[in-house]
Symmetry: D2
């Protein structure tokens, strides 16, 4: 059991959504954020960095949006569905953009792993959005 699951299981009040679904999404978001930060850095270290600037930029945006969406999903007090929904939509878009870009560079192993993390995270965000409606 991950810490995200443990933390949500110890939340003392009720939560409207399924706790395991939220915990799994948080884990996907943290994983994706870290993969994007590391992929941006790995791209920076490539001799062909000039061809990877769009990838680096999208990685940075995606890491930022995933980080804060994980934070928003880690909060349950004073829940505002409009705010959560719009953050998840922004995050699904960031992951889709970043996956699309990384998939163009899958001869770089870091882009391959990052694209996988982004696609997984995009799917997790969309699944949670579906469960909310």
């Amino acid at each position: 059991m991950t810490y995200a699951q443990q933390m949500i299981d110890t939340y003392p009040k009720s939560i409207t959504m399924d706790r395991t679904l939220i915990a799994d999404t948080i884990d996907s978001l943290m994983t994706c954020s870290q993969a994007c930060t590391a992929c941006a850095d790995a791209c920076l270290s490539e001799d062909t960095v000039a061809e990877l600037v769009r990838c680096i930029r999208t990685n940075l945006d995606c890491a930022d949006q995933c980080d804060i969406t994980a934070r928003i999903l880690s909060r349950h007090t004073g829940y505002d569905s409009n705010l959560t929904r719009s953050a998840l939509e922004a995050c699904a878009q960031a992951c889709a953009s970043c996956a699309h870009e990384c998939e163009r560079h899958t001869h770089h192993h870091h882009c391959q792993v990052c694209a996988e993390a982004c696609r997984h995270c995009e799917q997790a965000c969309r699944q949670l959005l579906s469960a909310m409606s």
Copy 2:
């Protein structure tokens, strides 16, 4: 002239949107993020903190979304309008939610100042969204 304006004026390539409009939005986002972080903390220090938990939570979300939207708008390389647009929409929603909550507590001066920063930032995000379409 703020640093955001100076930084965007020294960006060496072309930018599709108006540089001053972007710089002003970045300034509004940073101001709003800081106001939200400070308002959450001021609420925590109030004797009536139990009545302010929803305000604190919305403050935290809004600070997070403003922070990363300011970062996204500070990047111009490899611009992806879908990603920028969805972050701005999430941010306008976060600011609207937070302003709505802070306006219920305007007898607390920190909520009054924060509500003003949120309404100003929401408007800035919506204005930039209009300019993008």
Copy 3:
């Protein structure tokens, strides 16, 4: 194998420190950050929130410092040992402060889990600092 390990294994250049040690520290930092964000929120939802304001504040600081230390450790290009070291020291301090505070509230299960995550992360940061010297 976690994604942090996969990402560091695909970094194309040399890294001066042990890759598994860094990846494990990144995992501890992300776990701790999320636990702190969730613990702050769980504290907010407690009827005794007024007694937990110091815990909430330390949680917020610790989450912030862990998040960015995980980012700094995820970057290897243009490594600056002074910068990495001072971030790790700040993070070990934030974890120690937060663990100390959460340990005072271990009758709240979320504080118990969070204290464990903080102590583990503090230890990971100190272990990496030792390996650097």
Copy 4:
């Protein structure tokens, strides 16, 4: 009067340090963070990006550390001087490292502006550290 000053002036309890000194430091931190994010992106857009990878990396670290130090200084409830001090020290180091790197590239105007923001912020952090002791 900036919003940071307004927010700290509306904090309802006592603060041990000078409010204007803290507000000024927060403003310097936010300015520096944004300059670093923008400088990293401007470097990415340069044809000579391969020569700027160390600058980009240090920019990213500095932006992260400044962001969260601004957050920590925006919180006064449950103040922990050890935590604040170590964050300020990490931030002064990050600013010094980034200024040192940007000053090597002052033929790029964005590096010139960023170096100025970093030196100013480093000084603000050190001044606040002196005032704390």
